[in-house]
């Protein structure tokens, strides 16, 4: 019983993290049809910016330690907006409408560039920003289970972002326009939707979500080079399982992958990585469009 609770909670924490990472990726794909490999770099840059700033914040007397949470979010916003605007306006705008697979390669090039840019800015030594993680303390669940409150708070953040995305997409005017673009870009253009502005906004939002995932993860890990490259394939697995371009799909994919991994970690730790991609492979084998994706008619 205790093990089961541990598995479920671990799974929920991991799923929330996966959802945070994958949400931006799936939104960008849904609207722009760009499977953005550079999303891993957005995550890494968010993490570095947050870890460096929080490290500075705690290095001296800079006020109430709880302000560090605001700093985390602020760093993510700043990093995401800068990256999103520069990349969308400076590069992707000129390539829209090209083959999807070409865009994968273009964003792969971006990933390579941003990986080194990260090393140039922050160096190759690890950054630690554990204070916000410690600050929230630890909860005892049952007799032997101990969970960091920060991790549990992550679940709440993920649920909040999921609900916010749902609300914006389904209950606001802008969101409805966005869904029109997702559904049929050409008709949306014909109806007078400013698709270019939609693309720009979507890319910035996606980039901010990626950076936010990194910034919120930074206190729980040591921030080292290469985290972006690790994260992006996990995010791929999640969005592909759920169905590319769907927020609900990303949530379902995150839960499925998160729980599978947590079962693997507790029962057979040696197959941890194997399980994540195994789930992706199985879902694709039986439902190529993902759990929530729509099948597309073939073009002649």
């Amino acid at each position: 019983m205790t093990t089961l609770i541990a598995i479920l909670l671990d799974g929920a924490i991991y799923a929330s993290w996966l959802f945070l990472v994958a949400a931006g990726l799936t939104i960008i794909y849904g609207v722009m049809r760009v499977l953005n490999m550079a999303h891993g770099s957005f995550y890494a840059i968010g993490a570095y910016a947050a870890a460096a700033t929080v490290g500075w914040f705690f290095s001296g007397e800079h006020g109430n330690p709880y302000l560090s949470y605001l700093l985390l979010v602020g760093c993510a916003l700043l990093a995401g907006v800068i990256l999103g605007v520069v990349i969308e306006q400076g590069l992707l705008r000129f390539l829209m409408g090209r083959d999807e697979i070409l865009m994968v390669i273009v964003t792969y090039a971006l990933l390579l560039i941003l990986e080194d840019a990260t090393k140039l800015i922050w160096g190759v030594d690890p950054y630690f920003a554990y204070q916000p993680y410690r600050l929230l303390g630890i909860s005892d669940i049952g007799d032997i289970l101990r969970f960091a409150n920060y991790d549990l708070a992550l679940i709440a953040v993920a649920v909040f972002i999921g609900l916010a995305a749902w609300f914006v997409l389904n209950r606001t005017n802008k969101g409805r326009l966005l869904r029109a673009v997702i559904h049929d870009r050409e008709i949306a253009i014909a109806m007078g939707v400013n698709v270019n502005a939609m693309f720009a906004a979507t890319f910035v939002i996606g980039a901010v979500l990626g950076a936010l995932a990194g910034a919120l993860t930074a206190p729980a890990i040591s921030v080292t080079p290469g985290i972006g490259v690790e994260v992006i394939v996990l995010a791929f697995a999640v969005v592909v399982v759920g169905g590319l371009g769907s927020i609900g799909g990303a949530a379902a994919g995150a839960v499925l992958v998160g729980l599978s991994r947590s079962f693997a970690v507790h029962i057979a730790p040696e197959i941890e990585l194997f399980v994540i991609y195994g789930v992706m492979f199985l879902v694709l084998a039986f439902r190529p469009q993902g759990l929530f994706g729509q099948t597309l008619a073939r073009r002649i």
């Binding site: 499977l35 590069l91 083959d99 999807e100 697979i101 070409l102 994968v104 390669i105 273009v106 792969y108 090039a109 971006l110 990933l111 390579l112 560039i113 941003l114 990986e115 080194d116 840019a117 090393k119 140039l120 190759v124 490259v229 394939v233 791929f236 697995a237 592909v240 590319l244 040696e270 197959i271 941890e272 990585l273 194997f274 994540i276 991609y277 195994g278 992706m280 492979f281 694709l284 084998a285 190529p288 073939r298 073009r299 002649i300």
Partner: protein
């Protein structure tokens, strides 16, 4: 349309001449350059596997799967089975790659575009995940591969390196001629037709899936061969051979060289290896950035790769 025969044969003799020139280099080239070329030819084989899939419009972000299988099969066969003959080891590696492709091909040929890319990536990451956790195979460290023998002859020291270099030249040349024949055969031509319009190929009474399946298996075979050759030449294998960034490197080289000709991936691999050697010495932190910038520049300004620079004046050969 029948293909002009003289072009096919001219490529064959060009490969033979290039191979002889490189083979003559055995006694001229400095050892570091010969070693670099050995690895570049091996890499060129893997990239050729990526390239022939690109001709079908499919970008594999998981070709490292076969690269790694080839490497590990060579390592395992030499360590556990006691096989030391280079030719037998390479044959085993190729066979293993083909078997794996036969097992996965039925599934993968259902996918196109990014789904193909993602699924190939997932497969290679499954192998990576399994290898990293298997302590019997050295987990993340991998293990060393013993120096091979050649049909009973076991060279020592420099002769060993020279033999491996010659082997890589010979294998690369043989595969280049074979794949060229494949590319200009009727099956090879249908592959390009599948890229242009799959549905119409179906209307012509051909099965695009069967075509893509054969293509996938061929690509897997030569990529595994390249992996085996790499294992022999470098004397070491580790799970990083299967990680997705390795596949990304192959895609990079494929785009660098271009898909226009069977030579292109080898030219791409040599240029890539030479630049990397200097870049890592001079500016290790700029290496990936350089790659990224070059990749973007290629996509924007030279979409057919380096080969298009060479072939610009001879449009007839671009088609081959």
């Amino acid at each position: 349309m029948s293909f002009p025969k003289h072009l096919a044969s001219s490529t064959g003799s060009a490969v033979a001449i290039a191979a002889l020139v490189f083979a003559a280099g055995t006694w001229v080239l400095p050892p570091w350059l010969a070693f670099l070329l050995t690895l570049a030819f091996a890499k060129g084989l893997v990239v050729l596997g990526v390239v022939i899939q690109m001709r079908a419009g499919l970008v594999s972000f998981g070709q490292a799967l076969f690269y790694c299988i080839g490497g590990y099969i060579v390592g395992l066969a030499s360590q556990s089975l006691g096989i030391s003959d280079a030719f037998a080891l390479l044959a085993l590696a190729t066979g293993a790659g083909i078997l794996m492709a036969l097992a996965c091909g039925w599934l993968l040929t259902r996918y196109r575009e990014i789904f193909f890319a993602m699924l190939t990536l997932a497969l290679s990451m499954i192998l990576y995940g399994a290898l990293v956790k298997s302590s019997a195979l050295g987990s993340t460290d991998g293990f060393n591969v013993a120096a091979p023998s050649f049909l009973g002859w076991t060279p020592q020291g420099d002769a060993q390196k020279q033999a491996l270099y010659l082997l890589s030249v010979a294998v690369a040349a043989a595969v280049a001629i074979g794949i060229h024949r494949f590319m200009v055969s009727s099956l090879g031509r249908v592959i390009e037709a599948v890229r242009e319009n799959e549905l119409r190929v179906e209307y012509l009474g051909l099965s695009p899936r069967a075509v893509l399946f054969s293509n996938y298996v061929v690509a897997a075979g030569i990529s595994a061969l390249g992996g085996g050759l790499t294992a022999l030449a470098s004397g070491h294998i580790d799970p990083d051979m299967a990680v997705w960034t390795t596949s990304g490197e192959f895609v990079f080289i494929a785009i660098l060289g271009g898909t226009g000709h069977v030579f292109a991936p080898f030219i791409g691999a040599i240029v890539f290896s030479v630049i990397r050697t200097f870049a890592i010495q001079e500016a290790p932190h700029f290496w990936q950035m350089t790659l990224g910038v070059v990749l973007l520049a290629l996509i924007l300004f030279l979409p057919k790769g380096l080969w298009s620079l060479i072939a610009r004046d001879k449009p007839a050969e671009v088609a081959t």
